[in-house]
Symmetry: D2
Subunit: 284 residues, 4 copies
């Protein structure tokens, strides 16, 4: 079939997506961070403010959570969206949050700056078509066992409806290895760059499933050419309602930010000025 819209042949220049005051793509490095789920107003607002000071350009947080068990915490729903909106007002940072239900697309789009399609919904074609009709950037996570071709075809579904602001997000694939939660397919970064004009970022937190691996995988992702990172940070990982084991503390995250700057510069990426400034000033 070919990638009529997502393919390199469809568009010569690389797609750069504007989100609030920042961009994804080009030679920028975009850092998106936050807790897996929005669990509690005060804690989220506090975390968001901290992350802003550390140079994070977008906030993440799930209001609707796809969980394997129906008995696990499913997210705060609308209350979670409202907390995200408040975090945006307080920090000025754009919000990335997942939408799971076609009927919620407009509502979530009213709060979010970037709509996230989660791994489990990567081939929920109805939902892809629906976010394709909205004028908001979409962060499209790769499915647990999606091939690169299927992933780009999922982008194609969104683009075929008219929305071409797509950020591809590699988050690890399912393999036989059990040491990590998933296997980060680092080759997906150069593969997407080769096949498509769309930007691609990496979520090392879900890939590893272990916070201690996030830093080396984050640096590897940048060195491989990723346009950004999606990192789980939680003020108190051991109390997290989901994915605590893979969340960095704000302190770990600050260290990571310091470590990634020289790697980003080594591969010609421009870091957000604030980040470099903050690092110099030892604010973080």
């Amino acid at each position: 079939m070919g990638y009529r819209l997502a393919g390199r042949k469809a568009k010569e220049e690389k797609t750069v997506i504007r989100v609030g005051n920042t961009v994804v793509g080009g030679d920028h490095l975009t850092i998106i961070a936050g807790p897996c789920a929005v669990e509690n107003r005060d804690r989220y607002i506090q975390a968001a403010s901290q992350l802003k000071k550390m140079g994070v350009q977008m906030l993440r947080g799930g209001a609707f959570k796809p969980r394997t068990s129906p008995y696990a915490f499913q997210g705060l729903a609308v209350e979670g969206l409202e907390i995200l909106a408040e975090a945006k007002r307080v920090t000025g940072l754009p919000i990335v949050t997942e939408v799971m239900d076609t009927r919620d697309v407009d509502k979530v789009a009213g709060f979010a700056d970037v709509l996230q399609i989660g791994s489990r919904n990567m081939q929920n074609f109805i939902l892809l078509k629906e976010v394709g009709r909205v004028n908001k950037p979409v962060l499209l996570k790769r499915g647990l066992s999606a091939t690169i071709e299927e992933w780009l075809m999922a982008a194609e579904y969104i683009m075929a409806e008219g929305n071409s602001q797509i950020i591809m997000c590699e988050r690890g694939i399912r393999t036989f290895e059990t040491h990590t939660r998933n296997t980060l397919d680092i080759s997906a970064v150069p593969a997407i760059k080769h096949l498509s004009h769309l930007p691609v970022i990496v979520d090392p937190s879900h890939a590893a499933g272990k916070w201690g691996m996030v830093a080396p995988l984050a640096k590897a992702s940048i060195a491989a050419g990723a346009d950004g990172l999606l990192i789980e940070v939680h003020p108190c990982p051991e109390e997290a309602l989901c994915d605590g084991g893979q969340s960095l503390t704000p302190g770990n995250f600050a260290e990571l930010m310091e470590e990634i700057i020289p790697v980003a510069e080594a591969v010609g990426r421009k870091c957000h000025d604030k980040v470099k400034l903050l690092v110099k000033k030892s604010v973080i």
Copy 2:
């Protein structure tokens, strides 16, 4: 978490699901057959009548088709549902068809006797909840890379909403092997029997992706304890708009029906009387 509703401990006797004049589960063997997609009224009605004569107990056919590419045939939608309804009137056989969109659940339930949740939607939790609210049996296909635990948890999502008429359907998992389209995980049959009271059937057509393998895999499935089969049969596979390569012709299917009877009897399964009768009379 445990399988509060789908687990063996939740219910001592095996679940037997009544669909029209037939049942799924217990010691019955249920054969569901038909083309992958409803493509054409005359052809579908003709195929349905043929399949009925061969002893098929339920008809399958997709009106809404989840396809990797947005440019591939997406199904006839409502027109397809109407053709299925006509096939039901003509043959008296119940209809199994896929629902992909939460907003279509009531509409599809108005036509179908069994709602199919496809592999790609196995963790579309919104859709699972929605079919959980309907009083219709659900055929729950295993996801391409879903573990048995995740698959049972998907059933749990449906049951938690009140619908416990679930038919589990193994259809092959994604592995490194490329000789087959997917790898039929035959062990899933005894695994589901061990962990749950729900019936489990097998779709050897999607697993193999090659019509020549359907017969041995169908027999293996019955021998492993499957409660039924979901088989793709197309009057003219080489003209099929999807999955022609894995479809049996009506002639191949008739041979298969003859071959499976002794295997079913060898493991204590009751075949539909008509099937045995027809085989004796050489009607098929």
Copy 3:
């Protein structure tokens, strides 16, 4: 490259391999059973005698054991071979045992009737060449993540050296699923039948890793067309030095033998007369 010697085009009739008084291939069903490892003389001889009474046609047992850890039981080596030889004298049954070291091939061939190449050595090309020079049947287990093509190419390595008495043995492949030790690739049975003239048997014990699943998988294998089974039976599984969890007790094995006869007959397989006789007489 093609399968110059192992391929269907290379030889029209199916290969039938004579081993002692029995055969593998054609329309026979060959049952090979025994403990994973030879652990103890008395116990092995006793088990062998029991298995003979139940109609087993060949005995298995490892004298050299490939173990993930160097600190795990590595087999009794030559002492194990001598016990196997004694079991053969006592029962008259041929012996299948693994050879791991090229330098041991002649020695093992002096004791064994069939040389087993284990999964981890399926692409130990030096060893394949070495058993290719011996005039003994080879049982070639599929590698943990070998494609069907690579597996047949491994057979081709043996055949290219002059030995064409090869019994292919499917034993499960490595996938993401953790409910079973490996995923039995039942499709490999019809695939080998389609691509090659060589006989193919199944080892459901290693595939499942759980004794409770051995019976359904054994029946499925026969229904899919397998020429035989390789089953782990241990007089006292909970005391086994390796793989106890997947071993049947002699009692479970006797039940299995009863159950497989009707399935074998349903697909046109001839069971060893003794088996049927014993079952009738309720000796087992």
Copy 4:
């Protein structure tokens, strides 16, 4: 069982392995390069001299080649070893070459500075024990579908025989993805660093199977903490007898060397002085 010898608890300081005038481990970055197979004397010597000028610290090249098909080029054997020896005399660089046959271990050790155990032999325990008895560093490639635990246990086999000079080498694992030859498991680098004191390098050439992906994967590997790289370079990839598609030309390799230096420095790795000097002088 635990990693009695290979584990972090067994030895506090990181293992640094001396090979000729260079080392693997510590804060050094070791670059090993060369063609997949030694095919031709003049070409190999010429390539070796070029690679030396570009700052390569060790030469690779296979004299014994494990090939899927018995009809594919199997290597020049002893003649290949002699060419490697000549290359060593000419360049002064140490040689890494694969040993496949237990009976060849002493012979290969007579020529090579580092004995390579290939992926297919990672659980050839006999061969592991044999190289464990030799006083030469061993480059232990991860098996195609080996877990990290199994891989470290393979190192444990070698160490248990007395040889603790082991260089772990990640080279991609087998998954469902077909865009790349294998899936580079970049997480294996921090995993080995976390679990063991042994050095770990990466072979991006075999992982990707595509030369265009080697550079981003090489940089990612260094950023993730790898102690070195194993890169395929061929003077004329399109004429290579094996793996041409994944080989860099000397020109591509020179570019790669320039690109990796800033990444290596960004993560605190010391590059070989010559490399930096050569890059400054634009010799490469």
